[in-house]
Amino acid sequence: MSEQALSNTGNAASAEDMENSLGSHDAATDQFLTFIMANEEYGVDILSVQEIRGWEAATPIPNSPDFVKGVINLRGTIVPIIDLRLRFGLEQVEYSPVTVVIVLKVTTDKGNKVIGIVVDAVSDVYSLTADDMRHPPEMGDQVNTTFIKGLADVQGKMVILLNIDELLNLKEMPDVDAIKNMIHD
C-alpha cells in the first residue's frame, strides 16, 4: 500500500513537472515513442520512427548474427529486421499478434539507413524536456552505455531512452543485465 501511495505522489509530481516544463520552455520538448521489452520501457526519438507495423515473416540472411531476423520488402525497399531482445541478449519469445516492428531511420557513418526492430509491444508517446532526462550513471569499463541517451522518470516509471544511431551501429552487445541492475539500484 505504501508503495502505491509513493508511486501516486510520484505520479502527481512528475505530471506537474511535465506541465511546468511544457509551459516554460516549449521549444525544448522532445517526443519519445516508448515500447515494452521484458517489462522494461524503452524510448526512441519519435522523429526517427518511420512507421510501426505488425510482425511478418522475414527472409533470413545467411551467415548473419542471430539477432538479425532477416530482410523484408517495405514497399520496394529491402529493410533488415533486428530482434532487439536478441540484440540485448534477452530471452527470445514467440512472436504474437501484438509483436510489432518499429521501422526506424538511422544515421550511420555510411549515410541514412532504414532498419526495423522487433519489440514486445508499443507503449506510449511522451513529451520530455532536457530537464527530465538524467545522464546514465557510470558503469565502469565493462559495460558499454553509449547507446543510452538518458534515463527519464515518467509518472514514476523509469524509461530508458535509447540512442538509436549508436545502438544499431554498435558492434558489441550491450549487457542488459548489468544495465538493469544499474537502473534498479
Binding site: A58, P60, P62, I78, P80
Partner: protein, 732 residues
C-alpha cells in the same frame, strides 16, 4: 535582386564539359592542310560559350584562359592566320587544361594554375610571334594579351601595368532602357567584363529612381558614369554589344589619369565626399546618400544600387557563393540527358496504363461471372502495359556507347605519335545503347585494352611493311547487341599474341608446368593472370603486368566476360560481353528448404539430376562430380547458407553446374523453380555486405529473395575446405 547563380553552376559545368568534348572532337578532325571552316566554327563556338558562361558565373581563370584560346581560333577562322599542326596540339592541350581547371572548380578546389599559365604563355608566343600581315590587328592582339596577363594576376583591378602603357581612359556614360534586366542583360556582368580591361570605376546616377510606390521591381532606373583605364575601343564596344540598341551610350577616350569629375558626381550630393575618398567603398556611401535623398525609396532601391554600383562587392559575393555551390555540387547526383522521344513514349505508356486501370476499375464496380473474359483481357493488357512501361523506364538509363568511344580518337592519336606508329581508329556501332552505370565502369578497362593493342599489337611501320602489311595499322572498336547482352570488340590487325612467349613466361612464373598441354585458347587465357606481362620493355603505356587481370576483374564485377582470340601475324580480337543493365538480372530461382535463392542465369552451365555412380569422393570429404571428361567439385548450398534443406542426399536433389572465375562447381539445391528477370535491390543500402550474396530482389508474391554471388560462394566454400582439411585429411 540578384539571382543566386550558384544553382546554375552544375549545369554550366556539364555544358562546358560537353563543349570541351565537342572542341576535342573537332580538333581531332582538323587536318591542317585541308580543313573545313565549319569545324573551326564549331570549335570556336564551343570555346566562346565556355568563356561566356565562365564570365557570367565569375570563374575568371577559365574565362581568361579561354579568351586566348578563342583569340587564336578567331584568327584562324578569319583566315588571318594559317592553321598549323602545332596549333592543333596547343589547342588540344588547352582543352585538357581547361578540363582540369573546371574539374577543380567543380570540386571546390583551388585550381592548379601553373599549367594554365604555361599554356597561356605559349599561346601568347604564338599570337605575338608570327604576327599576321595587318599591323593594326597585331596591336589589338598585343594589348588584349597584356590585359589578359593583367587580369590573371591576383588583383585584376590593379592597374599599374595598364595605365603605364596607355596613359588615358575610356569615359563611358551608360543609360540602359528600363527593360534591360528583363531582357536578361545584367549590367553587373558587363561591368565585370569592363573591370577585366583595366582600372574600373563607376558611379550610378540615381535621380531617375521614382517614388517607392511607383517602383517596379524588374525595371532598371539607373544610369552610370564609368571610367575604364585600359582596353581597346573594340573591346569596350564588345561589352556593350548586346545592349547598344536599347540604351543611351557614349564612349570617349580621355588622355591622362581618370578623375572623379568624370564619374559625374556633383558636389551638391551630400555623400559625394565620402564616395570620392575611396572608390571601393561606395556602396555604403551611396546608400547613405540614397537615404538622405529619398527616405521612402530606400528599401527597394538599396539593393539595386549596391548591386550595380560596385562590382567588387558582387565579386566577393560570388566567391563565397561559389564555395557554397561547390559543396552542394558534391551532394547533387549526376544527371543524364534523355532524348525527348523517350520521354514521349513514356508518357504514352502511362496514358495507356491509366486507360487500362479505369477500364478494370469500371469492370470491378459491377462484376459478374459473365464479364470474366473481359477481365482476363483487361489483365493481359495490364501486363502488357506494365512490361512496356518497364522497358521504357529502363531505356531512360540507356545511353549510346559513343560517350565511351569518343575518348579513344584522342588517345590513339596521342599514343601513336608517342610511339611512332601509324594507326587508324575505326568506330563501329556507336549508337548501341547501354546502361549509364555500365558505361561508366567499362571505360577504364577499354582504355587498357586499346592501349595494349596499340603497344603490343600494332607493329612499327617498318615492321609492318616488312611483314607485307599496309603501313598504317587499324584498331577497330565495335559494339553491338546480342541476345540481351552488349558485345564490345577491340580488334587490331597487329602481330597477334605470341603464344610461345606467353607459354614460356607462364612456365617461368610457375603458372603452368612444362608438361601441361594447353590449347591455343588456354594459352591466350594466360594473359589474364595477375602479374603477367610479356612486353620486352616496360613503357609508359603498358607492360608492367598489372592490367589484364584487373581488366578481367572489372568486367566480371559488371557480370560480364572478356575473351581474346588471336592469330599470330594477323591480329587479335578482345571481346567484352556485358549485361545491358545492372538493374535487372536474368535469374534462375532455386529452392533450398523453404528459402528461394536466385542464381544469375549467365553463370549457369547446366542442371542435372545425379546418380551415385557419377560421384567420387576425393580425400574422404570432397565430393566430385564426373561430368563427361571433367571433374567438378560439389558445393552444398544449404551448408554454405545455413538453411535447413529437404534433402541431404545428392541423388534426391539437383545439381546446378555454374562457372565463375574460370572454374566450374556443382551447386547442390533441392529444386529448380522458374526462370525470370529480377530487379536487383541493394542489401547494403540498409544493411551491409553479405558474403556470398550479391543483392536481393522482390518476387511476385512480395517476398524478398536473395541473389547468390557465385564467385563469393566459391570463395566461402574454399575457405571452409581449408579449415576442415588441415590435420587428419591431409595426412590421409
Amino acid at each position: 535582386m540578384s539571382i543566386d547563380l550558384s544553382q546554375f553552376h552544375q549545369v554550366f559545368f556539364e555544358e562546358s564539359f560537353e563543349g570541351l568534348d565537342s572542341m576535342e572532337g573537332g580538333l581531332l578532325d582538323l587536318n591542317p592542310d585541308d580543313f573545313d571552316v565549319e569545324t573551326i566554327n564549331t570549335i570556336f563556338r564551343a570555346a566562346h560559350s565556355i568563356k561566356g558562361g565562365a564570365g557570367t558565373f565569375g570563374f575568371q581563370v577559365v574565362a581568361d584562359f579561354t579568351h586566348v584560346v578563342e583569340t587564336l581560333l578567331d584568327e584562324i577562322r578569319a583566315g588571318s592566320r594559317a592553321l598549323e599542326a602545332s596549333h592543333v596540339d596547343l589547342l588540344l592541350r588547352s582543352v585538357d587544361c581547361l578540363r582540369e581547371l573546371m574539374q577543380a572548380l567543380q570540386d571546390g578546389d583551388e585550381p592548379e594554375m601553373s599549367p594554365a599559365n604555361d599554356l597561356q604563355g605559349q599561346f601568347e608566343a604564338v599570337l605575338a610571334g608570327e604576327a599576321p600581315s595587318e599591323s593594326s590587328s597585331s596591336e589589338v592582339d598585343a594589348s588584349s594579351l597584356d590585359v589578359q596577363l593583367e587580369s590573371t594576376s591576383e588583383e585584376s583591378s590593379d592597374n599599374a601595368g595598364v595605365s603605364e602603357e596607355s596613359k588615358g581612359y575610356w569615359a563611358i556614360y551608360f543609360k540602359p532602357d528600363s527593360d534591360v534586366l528583363r531582357t536578361g542583360n545584367e549590367p553587373v556582368r558587363m561591368f565585370r567584363e569592363l573591370e577585366a580591361l583595366g582600372e574600373f570605376r563607376s558611379q550610378a546616377v540615381v535621380c531617375d529612381v521614382p517614388e517607392f510606390n511607383q517602383l517596379e521591381p524588374e525595371a532598371c532606373y539607373l544610369s552610370w558614369n564609368i571610367t575604364v583605364a585600359g582596353g581597346t575601343r573594340e573591346e569596350v564596344d564588345e561589352v556593350f554589344e548586346w545592349v547598344i540598341d536599347e540604351s543611351e551610350l557614349s564612349i570617349r577616350w580621355v588622355d591622362g589619369a581618370p578623375s572623379e569629375a568624370d564619374l559625374g558626381i556633383s558636389a551638391d550630393e551630400p555623400a559625394s565626399a565620402e564616395a570620392e575618398e575611396t572608390a571601393e567603398e561606395t556602396p555604403q556611401a551611396v546608400e547613405e546618400s540614397e537615404e538622405t535623398v529619398d527616405q521612402t525609396s530606400e528599401p527597394e532601391a538599396e539593393p539595386q544600387v549596391s548591386a550595380s554600383v560596385v562590382p567588387e562587392v558582387k565579386a566577393a559575393e560570388s566567391k563565397s557563393s561559389k564555395k557554397a555551390a561547390s559543396k552542394s555540387s558534391q551532394e547533387t547526383t549526376t544527371s543524364i540527358r534523355v532524348g525527348i522521344d523517350k520521354i514521349d513514349s513514356l508518357i504514352n505508356m502511362v496514358g495507356e496504363l491509366v486507360i487500362t486501370q479505369s477500364m478494370l476499375g469500371q469492370l470491378g464496380a459491377n462484376f459478374d461471372m459473365n464479364k470474366l473474359v473481359r477481365l482476363q483481357e483487361g489483365l493481359a493488357q495490364l501486363e502488357h502495359n506494365t512490361r512496356e512501361l518497364q522497358e521504357s523506364v529502363m531505356r531512360i538509363r540507356m545511353l549510346p556507347i559513343s560517350f565511351t568511344f569518343s575518348r579513344f580518337p584522342r588517345l590513339v592519336r596521342d599514343l601513336s605519335k608517342l610511339m611512332d606508329k601509324k594507326i587508324d581508329l575505326v568506330l563501329l556501332g556507336e549508337n548501341t545503347e547501354l546502361d549509364k552505370t555500365v558505361m561508366e565502369k567499362i571505360g577504364d578497362p577499354m582504355v587498357h585494352l586499346v592501349r595494349n593493342s596499340l603497344d603490343h599489337g600494332i607493329e612499327k611501320p617498318e615492321e609492318r611493311i616488312a611483314a607485307g602489311k599496309p603501313e598504317t595499322g587499324t584498331i577497330t572498336l565495335n559494339a553491338f547487341h546480342q541476345g540481351g547482352n552488349i558485345v564490345i570488340q577491340i580488334i587490331d590487325d597487329g602481330k597477334g599474341l605470341n603464344k610461345e612467349r606467353i607459354l614460356s613466361k607462364a612456365i617461368e612464373r610457375g603458372l603452368v608446368s612444362e608438361s601441361d598441354r594447353l590449347s591455343d585458347d588456354q594459352i591466350n587465357e594466360l594473359i589474364f593472370h595477375a602479374g603477367f606481362s610479356t612486353a620486352e620493355q616496360i613503357s609508359d603505356i603498358s607492360g608492367r603486368g598489372v592490367g589484364m587481370d584487373v581488366v578481367r576483374r572489372n568486367i566480371q564485377e559488371l557480370n560480364g566476360t572478356v575473351e581474346v582470340e588471336s592469330t599470330e601475324g594477323v591480329g587479335s580480337t578482345f571481346t567484352i560481353r556485358l549485361p545491358l543493365t545492372l538493374a535487372i538480372l536474368d535469374g534462375q530461382l532455386v529452392r533450398v528448404g523453404e528459402e528461394v535463392f536466385i542464381l544469375p542465369l549467365v553463370s549457369i552451365i547446366e542442371s542435372l539430376q545425379v546418380d551415385q555412380s557419377m560421384i567420387n569422393n576425393v580425400g574422404g570429404q570432397n565430393e566430385v562430380l564426373r561430368l563427361r571428361d571433367e571433374y567438378v567439385p560439389i558445393v552444398k548450398l544449404h551448408e554454405l547458407l545455413h538453411v535447413e534443406p529437404d534433402n541431404y542426399e545428392l541423388e534426391n536433389g539437383l545439381l546446378v553446374v555454374v562457372e565463375a572465375d574460370n572454374s566450374k562447381v556443382g551447386l547442390f539445391v533441392d529444386d529448380l523453380l522458374a526462370q525470370q528477370q529480377v530487379v536487383i535491390k541493394s542489401l547494403e543500402q540498409n544493411y551491409q555486405k553479405v558474403d556470398g550474396i550479391s543483392g536481393a530482389t522482390i518476387l511476385g508474391d512480395g517476398k524478398v529473395a536473395l541473389i547468390v554471388d557465385i564467385s563469393g560462394v566459391l570463395k566461402i566454400a574454399n575457405q571452409n575446405k581449408a579449415r576442415t582439411l588441415p590435420g587428419d585429411h591431409q595426412a590421409a
